[in-house]
Symmetry: C2
Subunit: 350 residues, 2 copies
């Protein structure tokens, strides 16, 4: 009988942050693709768009005028999914129908006044200003005792439901712990209690020794394809130091985060020479919720593309009803990303 080979045979891998398993089917890339081909959104935007609600000086849905900002800019979402003044209420019919009111605050952050750019095209100092604004927002939102979790994220690209190509992200904060945070808290807590070290400290050390899943690294951060990645080119940025939230980063770490964000996203854009779509977001400790020293700051990137700029991975039938599944190995994806230039293709062409 053949011996088992992870690069070739179907297997499952455990996500140590959630406890969930992913099905890996490496041989499946041989499948020809006759399905949906995405259309590419236009990618030649002006630096200023008079119809964009994020450009400086323009009018927003609530009637207010954006300031003539020069770096990044933040405001409360005009169509927030969570609202600060939700009346309190609860429903429970025999444990079968259970509901609770939910309050929160949703913010929008423009990364730059320049409508034509994206994260990898900004300078490291400009991205550092975005990191500083995230930190400031996190601080202010956590001063509100009703807020228990602050989700900072970016949806990039039409294919990710992003309705405005102006470089921007969002913050949704609410009064209860979201599902993914509940799972990651439980696993990190159990590990911390057993080992006295954070789960991701030990994981990062192992990955730095093994090297094969590392994409890019600097003094304070590492970007890697997690051993349990679900999306074809999924990555995670982890701080080398065990910090629980953005608030603990030093100035040098904030700059290093900006640096690795620029280098990772440039590689992403270079993969298919398009503005690479993804949802990305920071996971960190809950706030106003007691001690969470088990938490280790990290940032996930979930990009949907699989084969090319126009063929994505569909997380459908089996994935929705049963279990996530991927077609290439994380090691193969990491190798591909690692081999790409860190100079953005648009820069290279200049």
């Amino acid at each position: 009988m053949q011996t088992f080979d992870f690069t070739e045979h179907p297997h499952t891998r455990q996500n140590i942050l959630t406890g969930d398993w992913v099905l890996v089917s490496p041989h499946r890339t041989k499948r020809p693709w006759q399905g949906k081909v995405e259309t590419l959104p236009a990618d030649d935007r002006p630096a200023y768009d008079p119809g964009c609600y994020l450009c400086a000086g323009n009018k927003r849905a609530d009637g207010s005028i954006n300031p003539q900002y020069t770096d990044s800019f933040v405001f409360t979402n005009d169509y927030s999914a969570l609202l600060a003044d939700t009346p309190v209420g609860e429903l429970n019919k025999g444990g079968l129908l259970q509901a609770r009111s939910e309050s929160g605050i949703c913010r929008v952050i423009s990364f730059s006044p320049d409508h034509s750019l994206t994260l990898p095209q900004l300078t490291v100092p400009a991205i550092t200003k975005v990191v500083e604004l995230w930190t400031e927002e996190f601080k202010q939102l956590s001063a509100n005792p009703a807020i228990k979790y602050i989700q900072i994220f970016e949806n990039k690209g039409e294919i990710m439901g992003c309705s405005n190509p102006h470089p921007h992200g969002q913050i949704w904060s609410g009064g209860s712990l979201p599902l993914e945070i509940v799972k990651e808290t439980a696993r990190q807590k159990a590990y911390f209690e057993e080992h006295g070290r954070s789960l991701l400290s030990d994981y990062v050390q192992l990955e730095l020794a093994e090297k094969e899943r590392i994409v890019v690294e600097n003094e304070h951060f590492v970007a890697l394809v997690p051993f349990w990645a679900v999306w074809p080119y999924e990555t995670m940025i982890v701080s080398k130091r065990h910090v629980t939230t953005l608030l603990e980063f030093t100035a040098a770490e904030r700059t290093a985060l900006a640096d690795i964000l620029k280098r990772l996203t440039a590689k992403y854009d270079n993969l298919f020479e398009i503005s690479f779509p993804y949802s990305a977001g920071i996971h960190q400790a809950p706030v106003n919720d007691g001690d969470h020293k088990e938490w280790h700051w990290h940032m996930h990137f979930y990009p949907p593309l699989l084969r090319s700029a126009t063929v994505k991975k569909f997380m459908v039938g089996y994935e929705m009803l049963a279990n996530p599944q991927r077609d290439v190995t994380p090691e193969w994806a990491a190798d591909r990303l690692r081999s790409l230039s860190e100079v953005h293709y648009k820069e290279q062409k200049k």
Copy 2:
């Protein structure tokens, strides 16, 4: 202060089958949509397509020729994600890198030799034959002691990653319990042990009394929008009788299942007068895994569309990183589906 109103204020609801919560933001439909608009796939197919690997008499990827079948037809997937002969292997590095080999069998089921049709356009006797084939496949696969779970599903529509419009579904079966099944087993088991009745028996009884989330019903089944639905028009078909798998259905129940499948999917197509995309699948008890009398057979429908035939709900940033979120209430969606005709719009136009 205002009193809390579920039709208007943000809240979370619990999925009793998984224990997870969904964030409901009813007010959010006011948000204008400037994002991605899907293209509609062509919907005027011939009854026979010489290039289709599912049509009768055609050649498949492995070189074999499909028989001249007249009802439904089943074969092993030429690009299976799970293979029967995977060598056994395991990896565990300090609990940080954990992987296991996985074996299984993937099957494809053509619902009809007619390339131009979809489920709601088949007759009840023809759909009954599909139900019978599911039952037969379930029986055969569960006779293999290496198989622990059998996932029967359908990806319908380009937008759901379906690469061939010929009416068909799939069966993926494997040697371990998928994530969703692990969650649903735990919750159903706890309820059954406490109450001596299945969780869904009690839930269905409550829904039949409340009526507001019921979409369509017959003697043996009910189709409803679950109280905790995540997708805008998500539904679930539940058997009124507590049965654990397809194998326990009587002939009358198999026909009734075909009847409710036809009526529900006709309503779906009538909603936007298109062939309505979804992923749907049957959840039932694991096999070769001891006693699972807690399990109550049901079938989920996860359709992606939100506003129209071309604007879907994006499960992205916040949903991927934090928690599922929906924009309309399940009651509103149920009301809309309930009000639609059960006669397929293409039939109405004849």
